[in-house]
Every structure is written in structure tokens, then in C-alpha cells.
């Protein structure tokens, strides 16, 4: 009998052949970022331009798409790969830039420097930092390389970039030198010295280091990333922005479905669970329940039917990790789920995904179809006798459906209202059957853990939090976007190194993690390592991965009000503390920001908040007060100022502002003209005044004044 692993290996070879034939004949490859965020930024139009040229026969190029690379502030991105040339990544590509890229780069080989992120130096060395190369040996090679380049004063001529998985992990550490396209494999520290001397300086190829598998080399496509990858480690996002998510062949190239084949060939369900337990992986949905234990509990249940669910109802405002993962690498989730099904004895998987993610849904549908066609889903997977299939169910706009019992009710066709636990879904879940629920990020971690082993995974991170975590970095930060960091990295490293600090050098005030369920941490917490326990003890939570940076211009009371407004709006209305309590808290916050706060309001917020936390039915209610309680804890003085002095130090709460005209006024009357309520009076060339009783504090005068004559107090 042919083993699953052999079938897979056959399939992979076929995939490579197909890919080779497809790309082999074009000497230029254009990859356009086509995730939701990129499309929103205009990548569709950019894609159209390239296709238009191709249609007219003006360029002969292989045009394809890729998922999100995590660089939201620089989107849309376009990569141009060319034999014997430096790979170039273009950022902020508008339609005009796209035309320029065709006219200048594609046709005349002139790089459009204004928009090129890298690829502008003489030589570029790309080192694989894909998931399967995340090890010490690789890191030593990198460190040595950077040192040698410095020693030889080559920094101006050579740039070192890192790539996501290049697809031939067996050959690592691997290094590609552009523009000559020399690919060295299995490099040691000593080799690095030789490479710098012989190849970089003398321009010679070192034959014995060259990679052997030539066919694969032709498929290599390279994506250096910007510098901050140094602190990042990509496991979950290993293929995002690397492969075409609508082409299963590219996933196969990146060791796709190898974990599944391994499991089906060599491992019992029990061994799979042991491996997951060994990895120390914890649920990435927010609460951090040990994944292996969850699997074990579900596996132990006797039942005629069990279910595997992927929770893709990503609902935190400002969080888009799951969407990007699905859009960029749908197969990794599917593969994870099949392995989960095998481990617990289930044949049926359901992906519950937000209806607001049409592209992700589409990509999943395509991926499921492809996986079925290739025999990874359906009856008798890879000839193993194990059967498993996946169905997609859409959510319909209810944040609370991220809570597992609410999610189950929603799949069952009910109102998404949670129910008391126990029983837990592992015992009685969907249709009262044992059910294993994990979120997108958790599932995406499964294949690498199976391939590289639980120990490999648990070697990353901290004592209790293993592996990496994906964050959606947003707010007042230079590099907004998606990042994946090893657990234990500090908030400071994320904000200042990966995030590139705060725009315009404004002062850092807080970082909000965990979205509406989380809290705001102040400057004193910046050295907190990012792991479940540390964040909780600092007063926030890990959450699903939203991370918002707040600078001095944001009012913490208003921020907490924003989050509470969100949860209050999303409360399902079932239990009293959440339904009624959050409403009252919101009313109190509203009066505080409106300058009508009363003595004792802070205490009332605390009293309600603590009660709601402890008495609510589900996680939504239990965490709803967090943004308020944490800001009271860390920024109590701001609350007090609002209430006692009727002042908002961030000048954010309109009702607490006063506009006054000072002695700098030259009497130009610009403010008078712009005032919508005619609150300003004064004759020409005389100092004007504002009638405070009429002023609506719209700030129009303050914005229009050229002489700084209007003070905002």
C-alpha cells in the first residue's frame, strides 16, 4: 500500500513541475499584493494596469498575486523578480507608479527609486528566515554575515535582507546573492567568511556551496522585508505575502500538507495530541487555554459525532490578523483543522467566518475545493482511511459570536447568545456533540509544530507562553501593519523597534492591547514582556492581537469610552450585568467627557466594572470593563481632571475646551468670518473676543488663525 507521505511527495513533485512550466518561460515576474487591505489601498487598479499591458502584448511577464505582507502603511506593494537582477519591492504603488514601473523598470530596466523599498544597492544578500529556518544555526550565520560585511566596509554596497520560506528547507541555512542569483546552501559560519571574501569582493562563485536541486532554484522567489523582521519571527504568517493563496501548488512547495501526511503516515491521534501538548501552544483567541489539553479533553469524549470548528469571527475593532492569515495562506488553516479532526476523531469541520470578509471567504472556498481535488479533504484522505470535510458558515455581524458558546448557537441557526459553562464545548458543543474550537491563528500554528516538533516550538517564547504571536499594530505608530513576534518581546521593542516609534516624535502615552476586552498600559509598562501572564498582571490581556498605540493627543477617558461603546453595542443582552451595567458605565463616561462628571463617578465606574467582571455570563461581559478599569488604574488623574477641573489634557473632549483670543490678535477677522455661530466680535485691526456663551467649541477659529492668537485651553 502506498503511504500518505509517498502520495504527498508525488503530489509535491507534480506541483513543482506545474509551477516550473508556468513561470519558466517568463523572465520577469510581477507579484501584486491582493489582500483586503491592499485592495482597499488600490491594488486592484494597479493589477488592472499590469494586466492591461500584458493583454496588449506590451510586456511578457508572469503576473500573479500574493497575500498581505503586513506593511499596511506602505500599501499597495508590488514585487518585480527578474532573472539575474535585484528583486525589487515597490511600495505605495498608485496607478501612475504602476505605469512608470512598466515603462521604466520592465521595459528599460531602470528601477523607480522613489517607490522602491529595497533592491537599490549593488548587491543584495537574502537569507531565508522562513519558519523552517528559525533556528540558532541560521541566526549565527546571519550575525556573522553582518559582522563580516561591516569588517570589510561593504555596508554601502551590500544590503542584507531576509526572506520568508524559500521552499527548500532541507538545504538551510540558505543564502541568495543578487543580482548574480547565486544560491548557496547549508552554510556554516566559516562559509560566511569565504562568501564575503570570494563572492562579494572577488566576484567568484564558490561551486561547493551551490545548491544542488536546480529545478527548485528556478522557482525561488524572494521577498526581503524591511529591517524590523529582525525582531520578528514568522510561523503563522510564514506564507503570507509569499505564495499565491489561490494556488495550492505554491502551498505544496512550501511544505504544505506535509504535516498532514506525516500525521497520517507515522502518528496515532494520541501522539499528535502529545506533540501539541509538548509544544506548549495556547489558544490564540485571547484566553490562552492550553491547546493540547483542549484537544485531549475533546478526544476523550465518546460520541458518534464530533466537530472541529475554526473560529474566524475576528471582531475586535482594529484587528485583522485572522483575515490576513486566511487571505494569505488559507491552506495552513485547513491543514491544521484536518490534523485536529484526526487527533480527536472528528470527520466534520466548520469554519465560522465573518460575512464582512468576502475575500477571505472566497479564498477559503477556492482552497477547500483545491484541497478536495487533491485528496487532502473528503473521503479516505491520501489513502489513509481517514475522512474529513470542511464547511464554511458565515457570521452576520455580532462580536459576541467570537465567544465559543455563542458561536455554536450561531452555527446552529440561533441568536448568538452565550450559555453558562459547564458543560464546555469539548463535552457538549455543536448540536450537543463534543466540539473542538480553535481560532485561525491557533490552527495555522499546527502544521509547523507537527513538521518540526513540539520541542522546536516550545524553544521559542517564555516559560508559560510559547511560540509567536501575531499583532495588528495600529494607531499612532509609524509602521502600522501586521507583525509576528516571539512571545516575550517587550512592548517597547514592538513600539519603538518594529513599529518605528510614534509619528512626528510625539510623546508615547499608552498602548492598548486586546481590543475592547483588553486594557491600556502606560509608559511604566513598556518593558513588560508580551506573554499571557505578564500582560494580565499589568492590567491588560493578550487578546486576539489588536495593538493600538496612543500618543499624548488622545484622551484616555475618551478612549475607554470608545471601547465601552463598542462592547455595549455588541452586548447580546442576555445577562443583566452586561446588558444593564455597561449601559450605566457608558452613561457615566459620557457625562465625564461632556464635562458633567460628578464626584464619586470614578468610584461608581469601579464598583460597576468590578461587579460586571465577576458576575457576567460570558467573556464579553467579563472583560467589557477592562478598558475602563485599566485606564482608571493607570490614568486616574485624567479622570479626575475631567471631573474636578473640567479639563481634558489632550484637548480631545470638545465640551471641555475653551477658546480664547490672546494678545497676538491682529484683528484680521478671519476667525470672525469662519465662526459658524457668530460668537466672535471685534472691529477690524482690533483684538477680537469670543462670546463663551455662544461658542460651540468647533475649533474653526483656532484652525484658521495664522497668528496663534487663539488659545485652546
Amino acid at each position: 500500500m502506498v503511504k500518505p507521505i509517498e502520495i504527498l511527495s508525488q503530489k509535491k513533485q507534480e506541483a513543482i513541475d506545474r509551477l516550473y512550466n508556468k513561470t519558466h518561460f517568463s523572465d520577469k515576474l510581477i507579484y501584486v499584493g491582493m489582500a483586503s487591505c491592499e485592495i482597499a489601498a488600490g491594488s486592484k487598479e494597479v493589477m488592472e494596469i499590469f494586466k492591461e499591458y500584458a493583454k496588449k502584448g506590451l510586456i511578457t511577464t508572469y503576473i500573479s498575486q500574493k497575500g498581505c505582507v503586513g506593511m499596511c502603511s506602505l500599501e499597495p506593494t508590488v514585487d518585480i523578480l527578474e532573472k539575474g537582477k535585484m528583486p525589487v519591492r515597490y511600495i505605495k504603488v498608485t496607478k501612475d507608479v504602476a505605469k512608470k514601473i512598466v515603462e521604466e523598470h520592465i521595459k528599460k530596466n531602470q528601477i523607480v527609486k522613489e517607490n522602491a523599498l529595497f533592491g537599490t544597492k549593488q548587491k543584495s544578500i537574502v537569507i531565508c528566515k522562513g519558519t523552517f529556518c528559525l533556528n540558532n544555526k541560521n541566526q549565527q550565520v546571519v550575525d556573522r554575515l553582518i559582522k563580516e560585511i561591516k569588517n570589510e566596509n561593504l555596508e554601502d554596497k551590500v544590503e542584507v535582507c531576509f526572506s520568508s520560506c524559500l521552499g527548500f528547507c532541507e538545504e538551510g541555512p540558505i543564502m541568495i546573492i543578487y543580482p548574480d542569483f547565486i544560491v548557496y546552501s547549508k552554510i556554516s559560519q566559516e562559509d560566511v567568511v569565504r562568501i564575503v571574501k570570494e563572492t562579494l569582493i572577488d566576484g567568484k562563485v564558490i561551486e561547493d556551496l551551490l545548491v544542488k536541486n536546480n529545478n527548485l532554484v528556478k522557482l525561488v522567489r524572494v521577498y526581503g522585508t524591511f529591517e524590523s523582521l529582525k525582531k520578528q519571527k514568522k510561523i503563522v504568517l510564514r506564507n503570507c505575502g509569499v505564495i499565491d493563496p489561490e494556488n495550492i501548488d505554491e502551498y505544496l512547495l512550501m511544505r504544505g500538507y506535509e504535516a498532514l501526511a506525516k500525521v497520517l503516515t507515522f502518528m496515532t491521534p494520541k501522539q499528535v495530541i502529545e506533540e501539541i501538548k509538548k509544544s506548549g501552544l495556547r489558544g490564540r483567541g485571547g484566553a490562552g487555554f492550553p491547546t493540547g489539553l483542549k484537544w485531549e479533553l475533546t478526544a476523550q469524549q465518546q460520541s458518534d459525532e464530533k466537530f472541529v470548528i475554526c473560529n474566524a469571527d475576528e471582531g475586535d475593532p482594529g484587528a485583522f490578523m485572522d483575515r490576513s492569515t486566511i487571505e494569505g495562506d488559507p491552506h495552513s488553516i485547513i491543514e491544521g483543522m484536518i490534523i485536529g479532526g484526526y487527533a480527536i476523531g472528528s470527520n466534520k469541520g466548520i469554519i465560522y467566518i465573518r460575512a464582512e470578509y468576502p475575500l477571505a471567504v472566497e479564498r477559503l472556498k477556492i482552497a477547500i475545493e483545491q484541497a478536495r481535488n487533491e485528496g487532502f479533504l473528503g473521503e479516505n484522505i491520501l489513502g489513509s482511511g481517514f475522512s474529513f470535510d470542511i464547511e464554511i458558515r458565515l457570521g452576520a455581524g455580532a462580536f459576541v459570536c467570537g465567544e465559543e458558546t455563542a458561536l455554536i448557537h450561531s452555527i446552529e441557526g440561533h441568536r448568538g447568545m452565550p450559555r453558562p459553562r459547564p458543560p464546555y464545548p469539548s463535552v457538549s458543543g455543536l448540536f450537543d456533540k463534543p466540539t473542538l474550537i480553535n481560532n485561525v491563528e491557533t490552527w495555522a500554528n499546527i502544521p509547523p509544530i507537527i513538521i518540526l516538533g513540539g520541542e522546536w516550538f516550545s524553544s521559542m517564547g517564555t516559560q508559560k507562553s510559547k511560540g509567536t504571536k501575531v499583532f495588528a499594530l495600529a494607531g499612532k505608530i509609524n509602521n502600522t501593519g501586521l507583525i509576528e513576534v516571539p512571545m516575550g518581546v517587550t512592548l517597547r521593542e514592538i513600539v519603538y523597534e518594529i513599529g518605528g516609534g510614534i509619528p512626528e516624535n510625539k510623546k508615547f502615552k499608552a498602548v492598548q492591547t486586546g481590543g475592547p476586552s483588553g486594557g491600556c498600559l502606560a509608559e511604566i509598562h513598556l518593558d513588560t514582556p508580551v506573554d499571557y501572564e505578564s500582560l494580565t498582571s499589568a492590567g491588560s490581556i493578550m487578546g486576539s492581537g489588536g495593538m493600538i498605540v496612543i500618543d499624548e493627543h488622545s484622551c484616555m477617558v475618551a478612549v475607554s469610552k470608545f471601547f465601552l461603546e463598542f462592547t455595549q453595542n455588541e452586548s447580546c443582552g442576555k445577562c443583566t450585568p452586561c446588558r444593564e451595567g455597561t449601559k450605566r458605565m457608558l452613561e457615566i463616561l459620557t457625562r465625564i467627557v461632556n464635562g458633567e462628571g460628578k464626584e464619586g463617578d470614578i468610584e461608581k465606574l469601579e464598583r460597576l466594572g468590578n461587579m460586571i467582571k465577576k458576575a457576567s455570563l460570558c467573556g464579553l461581559g467579563q472583560s467589557a470593563p477592562n478598558p475602563v478599569l485599566s485606564t482608571i488604574k493607570n490614568f486616574r488623574e485624567e479622570y479626575e481632571e475631567h471631573i474636578k477641573e473640567k479639563k481634558c489634557r489632550a484637548h480631545f473632549c470638545t465640551n471641555l475646551l475653551t477658546y480664547e483670543i490672546n494678545e497676538k490678535c491682529v484683528g484680521c477677522s478671519a476667525c470672525k468670518k469662519v465662526c459658524p455661530v457668530e460668537a466672535i466680535s471685534g472691529s477690524a485691526k482690533q483684538r477680537h473676543t469670543i462670546n463663551q456663551k455662544v461658542c460651540i467649541k468647533c475649533g474653526a477659529c483656532w484652525r484658521v488663525c495664522k497668528f496663534e492668537a487663539i488659545s485652546r485651553l
Partner: protein
């Protein structure tokens, strides 16, 4: 006009019935309720009463239950929407960059409220959770197109421009 509407309703009901065949006499048919409601919204543009009643009888789910589900999820529209839908993103990034002001301005300009239709039936106004275009904040979406980096002034321009283009095409 009325006749045209009637014909539309018939066609809509026909395609709904066709879709419902997938769920007749299948086990746990009622678990597909949300999928079916999505379909109704796709066909009718909102959750039409006749359509809900049709679903209730076909898959044997009490009408009240469907009503409870339909009103629970914000994605479902209970009223016939305007020709074009404006979604104002109130996600974190947009909020911080002034989405509330954009929304206020739009309400004023369109003379309508969130979840309602402008008097001329042209625009529906809706709020959205993060539209995923944080770098362009604040943003709105008209139908499926995103308009970013808005100010209270420019958003009115966007609306006017949209209407003008629509008229031109007609």
C-alpha cells in the same frame, strides 16, 4: 411601476424557493438559517417579510425564531435599503482620526440616520466595524468602493461626485 415591483417579487420568490430546495428535508435544516437569511438579503437586498414566511414554512422554523435571529445580527437589514449603501467606518483608527465628525456631516447632508434611508431613497447610511483600510482613515465605503483620507468637507464632495457620475451614466 407597481407592476414591475410585483414581477420582481415573483422572480425573487422563485429564486428563493429554488435555493430552499437545498434545505428541505435535510437533517438539522434549521441550522442553515443564517446562510438562508444571507441569501434572502442577497436576493431582496433586505429581509423581506414574505421571504421570511416562506423560509419558516419550508424548513419548519417558527417565524418568531427567524425574527429573533434576524434582529440579532447587525449584518441583516430589516428595511429596504437605498439604491446605494454608504458605510462609515467607526473602527479604532477611523475613530481616532475623526470618523464621528464624518458621520455627523453625512447624517446632515443626507437628512437621514444610521440604519435608515435618505428621503430620496438613493443612499442608505450605515456604520461599519473596521473596513480594514486603517491606513486611509477615516474612510467610508460606497457600495464596494472605499474612499479614504476624508475630511468633513471632502466627504460631501465625494457624495456629490458620486451622484453626479450616477446621473451622467443614466
Amino acid at each position: 411601476m407597481q407592476k414591475e415591483n410585483l414581477q420582481n417579487d415573483d422572480l425573487n420568490l422563485k429564486s428563493l424557493r429554488e435555493f430552499l430546495k437545498n434545505f428541505k428535508d435535510v437533517p438539522r435544516a434549521e441550522s442553515n438559517l443564517i446562510t438562508i437569511l444571507h441569501k434572502i438579503q442577497e436576493i431582496y437586498g433586505y429581509l423581506d417579510k414574505t421571504a421570511i414566511e416562506e423560509v419558516a414554512t419550508t424548513i419548519s422554523v417558527p417565524t418568531s425564531h427567524i425574527w429573533g435571529v434576524a434582529t440579532f445580527y447587525h449584518y441583516f437589514k430589516l428595511k429596504k435599503p437605498g439604491k446605494h449603501i454608504i458605510s462609515v467606518c467607526l473602527g479604532t483608527a477611523c475613530y481616532i482620526k475623526g470618523a464621528e465628525e464624518i458621520l455627523r456631516k453625512l447624517k446632515e447632508e443626507l437628512n437621514t440616520d444610521i440604519g435608515d434611508v435618505s428621503p430620496d431613497g438613493f443612499f442608505s447610511l450605515e456604520e461599519a466595524r473596521c473596513l480594514g483600510a486603517c491606513s486611509l482613515a477615516p474612510v467610508i465605503m460606497i457600495d464596494n468602493k472605499v474612499y479614504g483620507n476624508l475630511t468633513p468637507q471632502s466627504v460631501i464632495q465625494v457624495i456629490k461626485e458620486f451622484k453626479r457620475k450616477y446621473k451622467e451614466q443614466k
